[in-house]
């Protein structure tokens, strides 16, 4: 267990688990690693969560390289089981795109986006199943103070992806409908041109709600999962009876998350497809 000021406390344990490894600019202008949650807070926006970024990029690269190697060593006859599994994921992304993306528009990026989003988010979510103390403790032994290994429990990560989706929504809306068409969609609906300011307010809120809900849904689910795992882990130090109970609780919670983890990845992918589909549709 981690310690705050060398003292083992429940609050310190939770805080340690919820603090990112942060590199950023201190208020006095110098750059450096944050040594506490307060340090990180003082850095404001000019900071980066090194652990979130590295795990996120690492898992994303893992996905891309694994899938690319399967594409390169594709065997038409007698494919290995792993290849069949990877193929079915490709097919799953293609099917999701076919079922949810508007058939009136053609966009070769949608299916790869769906694949990337699904597998990447899935990989990041799966880190939640790894017993929560293993990796952070390993890094403490290596002298790294903080280590959050589940990138999707970092709102920066989920909202960062949602931001990209939002940018794509705006980009494709303008590309497909033209700037005027996009503005019309925002201003003349749902109540007609006479109610323009009201329409604009309503549609803008609706537009902004898309990425926000997309990012916060994923973050909320995974953050809650992580928090419950932390709370369960705290029972391990409360005697053998409670600890045993906690062991079963952790097992149950982990089994439950075998369901939640792919489900959240799936929801993120589907919503991305649907939002982009809406961006391609004329009203």
């Amino acid at each position: 267990m981690a310690s705050e000021n060398g003292e083992l406390t429940g609050a310190g344990y939770i805080k340690h688990h919820l603090t990112n490894l942060t590199y950023g600019q201190y208020p006095d202008g110098t750059w450096g690693m944050a040594h506490s949650a307060a340090d990180a807070k003082s850095m404001g926006f000019t900071a980066i969560h090194v652990d979130s970024m590295l795990w996120s990029i690492g898992l994303g690269l893992l996905f891309l390289l694994i899938f690319r190697s399967f594409a390169n060593s594709f065997k038409k006859e007698n494919p290995s089981r792993a290849q069949v599994a990877v193929e079915s994921i490709f097919q799953f992304a293609q099917d999701s795109k076919n079922s949810s993306f508007t058939p009136h528009a053609k966009n070769d990026y949608i299916a790869p986006i769906a694949l990337t989003v699904f597998v990447w988010v899935l990989f990041m979510n799966i880190m939640d199943i790894v017993p929560i103390d293993w990796l952070p403790e390993l890094f403490v032994l290596m002298g790294v103070e903080y280590m959050k290994v589940v990138p999707t429990t970092d709102p920066n990560i989920t909202l960062g992806m949602a931001l990209s989706v939002f940018i794509m929504i705006v980009y494709y809306s303008i590309k497909v409908k033209g700037p005027g068409g996009f503005f019309k969609e925002l201003a003349f609906q749902p109540f007609g041109p006479k109610m323009l300011p009201f329409n604009l307010l309503l549609e803008t809120v609706a537009l902004l709600a898309k990425p926000l809900s997309l990012g916060l849904r994923l973050f909320g689910n995974l953050y809650a999962a992580e928090l419950i795992f932390i709370l369960i882990a705290m029972t391990f130090s409360a005697g053998i009876g409670v600890g045993l109970l906690g062991g079963f609780a952790q097992m149950g919670w982990a089994i439950f998350h075998i369901l939640v983890i792919p489900l959240q990845a799936y929801i993120f992918m589907m919503l991305t497809i649907v939002y982009l589909s809406q961006a391609h549709e004329h009203h």
Partner: protein, 159 residues
């Protein structure tokens, strides 16, 4: 739980990964999968075609066999008929030959019977004349009674 540059970093990473996936991961895999799908579809189509061809060939073969059977039956029937006629003809020829042989034999027999009878009659008449001349050696004038004797011979001949 601070919002900071990580947001931007993740956003950029997202675009880079999507681009990489679209460029280097999606096309080779999907291309290979589609190629295989096409191959399988082609194979199935070829198999179906082969099956159809086989069905046609089987039908043709059955037709040929049926044709051959009827032809064979016809040939057998005509051969039997021909055999029968040959036998009948032979029988007819034999019958007529038999009749002819019998006829000729009969006429020969008749001829010989006739000849024998002539010979016998000649001998009888000469014997009768001899006997008569012996009986009437003195009393009968041979020349006076020649007409009578000739008449007698004629009568014998006629009988």
């Amino acid at each position: 739980m601070n919002i900071n540059l990580t947001l931007i970093g993740q956003s950029i990473t997202f675009f880079l990964f999507v681009w990489f996936c679209k460029k280097f991961v999606w096309p080779p895999m999907m291309g290979a999968m589609e190629a295989r799908q096409k191959e399988i579809a082609d194979g199935l189509a070829a198999a179906e075609q082969g099956q159809k061809a086989q069905e046609v060939a089987e039908k043709e073969a059955a037709e040929l066999v049926a044709q051959a059977k009827t032809q064979a039956a016809e040939i057998i029937a005509s051969a039997e008929k021909r055999g029968n006629t040959v036998v009948e003809e032979a029988q007819e020829t034999a019958t007529s030959e038999k009749a002819r042989i019998l006829d000729s034999a009969q006429s020969e027999v008749e001829q010989q019977v006739f000849a024998a009878r002539e010979e016998l009659r000649g001998q009888v008449s000469s014997i009768a004349v001899a006997a008569a001349s012996k009986i009437a050696e003195k009393e009968i004038d041979e020349s006076a009674h020649a007409a009578l004797i000739d008449d007698l011979v004629q009568q014998l001949k006629a009988s």
